[in-house]
């Protein structure tokens, strides 16, 4: 390649209000067909010059945008779109193949929590090690040590080896250290938001705090809910190409059809499979999503929020007075926790549908489900509910994050207990 080699420039110019500038960045990886990790292999390759057995995969093509100071900037794209590669280049872990990235100010990447954690060291030792990786010296860690331990709620465990910690404890400790980072720019990967619901809430609280403080944050995600909640601006990356750069709403508006087309393709495959196995199938599921009150598609739902299941089905044959509905299943228990159809909800008889007709319906879910994994089952049956025309058990999966009562599936919507009598 005759082009200049790509590079990363670290600047420190307080007057310039641009935090990160990406200028015509390309990135490609060389993928050997059969990776030669031995000298013999590469000697053979040298000799047999014609057969260079690697291909170049272009992961990102001509990416250019700027992030201003104080922006909560989203990098939006599906899995495998190249957004994580872009993040790693901003972090200085990968080098661009060509083009230039200018980072103005100090930058801390959070691509994973607890990088460098060593299971053989104690919690305390790991705090100092991880702190050093974030740029703190011993004295500085001394100063914040108590606060870190308190926040992680691990006071009693700090002198135990990390290998004796549960994974939840490790994540708590790592997160507690990570949020001390005092860089001008933070890079957050979505994989940060792992762990239990309580931890997720902490994570999102921290994101809110960052947003309030006006920190410069680059957030990489495919989660439209989180992106919309936090980001002010963003860029869309799809199949290595740059899409729109602008206000997050516009970016998500361009992103939605991409996700939908993918979902549609998935559902069609699913429907075809169904059709092949059971020729009786008179009805196809077109799509099924969970949306919040603003119509944004979600797969993670904060506890207590009002969401709706949007279902659309197509009739392949004439069907008279079908019963359409959904059932919410708690995945790990395989138990139905909520169900609704046009009979139970008093919608009434739906009449006759010809072949090719469609119907879309919406079911509001009660905000009473505690944290966990759930699935939406879409079912269509005849009027007497003796035959099912469609039974798509996992039409959509989602997760509720947070709860007000960790002991049960169903939350209380209001206090429901009082003391009747005490016998001293």
């Amino acid at each position: 390649m005759a082009k200049d080699k790509g590079h990363l420039v670290i600047a420190d110019d307080p007057k310039n209000d641009v935090a990160i500038s990406v200028e015509g960045v390309h990135k490609s990886f060389k993928l050997p067909h059969n990776r030669q990790n031995s000298i013999k292999g590469s000697i053979i390759n040298l000799v047999a010059k014609g057969d260079r057995s690697f291909e170049t995969q272009e992961v990102l093509k001509d990416i250019s945008f700027q992030i201003k100071k104080g922006e909560f900037f989203g990098i939006v794209g599906r899995n495998g779109s190249g957004k994580s590669t872009l993040l790693k280049m901003l972090a200085g872990i990968y080098t661009p193949t060509s083009g230039k990235i200018i980072v103005n100010g100090s930058l801390t990447p959070f691509i994973e929590l607890g990088v460098g954690f060593n299971p053989e060291l104690t919690g305390r030792e790991n705090v100092y090690l991880n702190g050093a990786l974030l740029g703190f010296n011993d004295k500085e860690v001394d100063g914040m040590y108590d606060e870190i331990v308190r926040f992680a709620e691990l006071e009693r465990f700090m002198d135990q080896k990390l290998k004796n910690y549960s994974s939840g404890m490790q994540v708590r400790l790592a997160f507690s250290i990570a949020i001390r980072a005092k860089s001008d720019i933070l890079l957050l990967d979505e994989v940060l938001a792992v762990g239990d619901a309580a931890f997720q809430t902490k994570c999102f609280d921290y994101f809110y705090e960052l947003k309030e403080k006006g920190a410069t944050v680059v957030f990489v995600s495919h989660d439209m809910g989180a992106l919309e909640r936090f980001c002010t601006r963003g860029v869309l990356i799809d199949r290595g190409q740059q899409g729109i750069v602008g206000p997050i709403r516009d970016v998500l508006a361009q992103y939605t059809p991409i996700v939908l087309s993918q979902l549609d393709a998935g559902n069609r495959d699913e429907a075809n499979k169904k059709h092949n196995t059971s020729m009786e199938s008179k009805i196809t599921l077109v799509d099924c999503h969970l949306k919040d009150s603003r119509g944004v598609i979600l797969d993670k739902v904060a506890f207590g929020s009002f969401v709706q299941a949007h279902v659309s089905i197509e009739f392949r044959e004439r069907v008279e007075s079908p019963i359409v509905g959904i059932t919410i299943w708690k995945k790990d228990l395989n138990a139905a926790v909520f169900a609704a159809n046009n009979l139970t909800e008093g919608v009434g008889d739906l009449g006759v549908f010809k072949a090719g007709a469609r119907i879309a319906y919406v079911v509001s879910l009660p905000p009473l489900l505690n944290n966990g994994e759930y699935t939406i089952e879409v079912a269509v049956a005849n009027k007497a509910v003796t035959t099912y025309y469609l039974r798509e058990k996992e039409a959509q999966a989602f997760r509720i994050m947070g709860s007000n009562n960790p002991h049960a599936i169903i939350a209380q919507d209001k206090p429901c207990m009082k003391i009747e009598r005490r016998v001293p």
């Binding site: 872990i93 080098t95 990088v115 090690l129 703190f136 010296n137």
Partner: protein, 272 residues
């Protein structure tokens, strides 16, 4: 000065200290007597050398303080092999850091080298103890020892940078380097005195190896000026220019190793 400030910034210093501490803590992880091994290992090694090469095969007749002479050579050789072998796998071993955060790559190799230096320091303490026990009289030439050790360190560091970078791409290097170390062990006058080699030509060739030169110089500086301690300065006393060849090798290896490492370091994250 600017480079020094950048390389040893507050942040980098803190990180370097933590990396060295971690390596040191983990070294004797799970062993009952822990750090004591750092001192016990050289002691036991000395005991073996003493029994085999002083009592059973007295190769070093005519060399005063032969046990101390042996031990001096042995700790320098061990420092070199330990440092290069540990550094070789250091970049690959710290792949988790390299793929997840921006950490100066050289720091990983450098911290490994500092750990080898700590071990060398402990061995030197044991050496002093043996010198006292064997009634070795300290000589003025002792001041050259730090310079000789610095030479070995720079040589090993250059190789460490080179080997660790190559290892990312070619895992064969591990085995190749084992063979090289094995060959080097026999080609370097560690267990046998150079006086055992009668042909002066071979003596000269062997001494062109920077490690042979450094070990012999260290023995001369620390143990004895006896004529049986053959140094490069003695074999090339007619033409001192030849005696500079090992130093040139050290400088070339160091610059070459560092240059190769710098050239490769940006693609470590992708190749790991």
């Amino acid at each position: 000065m600017g480079v020094y400030k950048r390389v040893f910034s507050k942040k980098n210093r803190a990180l370097l200290i933590e990396l060295v501490k971690t390596d040191f803590k983990l070294r004797y992880q799970g062993s009952a007597i822990g750090y004591l091994w750092s001192l016990l290992r050289p002691l036991l090694m000395f005991a073996i050398l003493y029994v085999v090469f002083v009592v059973v095969f007295p190769l070093g007749k005519g060399i005063p303080y032969y046990p101390v002479y042996l031990f001096t050579g042995m700790i320098i050789w061990n420092f070199f092999t330990e440092m290069t072998q540990q550094s070789l796998g250091s970049i690959v071993g710290r792949g988790d850091l390299i793929r997840k955060i921006r950490i100066p790559r050289w720091m990983i190799v450098f911290s490994t080298s500092l750990n080898a230096l700590i071990n060398l320091g402990l061995n030197l303490i044991v050496l002093v103890v043996f010198m006292v026990m064997n009634h070795v009289i300290p000589m003025g030439s002792l001041v050259f020892l730090p310079l000789i050790l610095l030479e070995v360190y720079i040589f090993a560091l250059g190789l460490s940078f080179f080997l660790s970078a190559v290892f990312v791409k070619y895992r064969d290097v591990l085995y190749i380097w084992e063979v090289v170390i094995q060959a080097g062990f026999y080609l370097t006058p560690i267990l046998y005195p150079l006086t055992q080699i009668k042909d002066v030509m071979y003596q000269k060739i062997l001494l062109l190896n920077p490690l042979a030169q450094a070990i012999q110089d260290a023995r001369y500086a620390v143990v004895t000026h006896d004529n049986n301690v053959i140094t490069i300065w003695r074999v090339f006393h007619h033409n001192t220019w030849y005696a500079l060849i090992p130093f040139a090798v050290v400088i070339v290896v160091f610059i070459g190793g560092l240059a190769y490492f710098r050239n490769q370091q940006n693609s470590f994250a992708e190749n790991l």
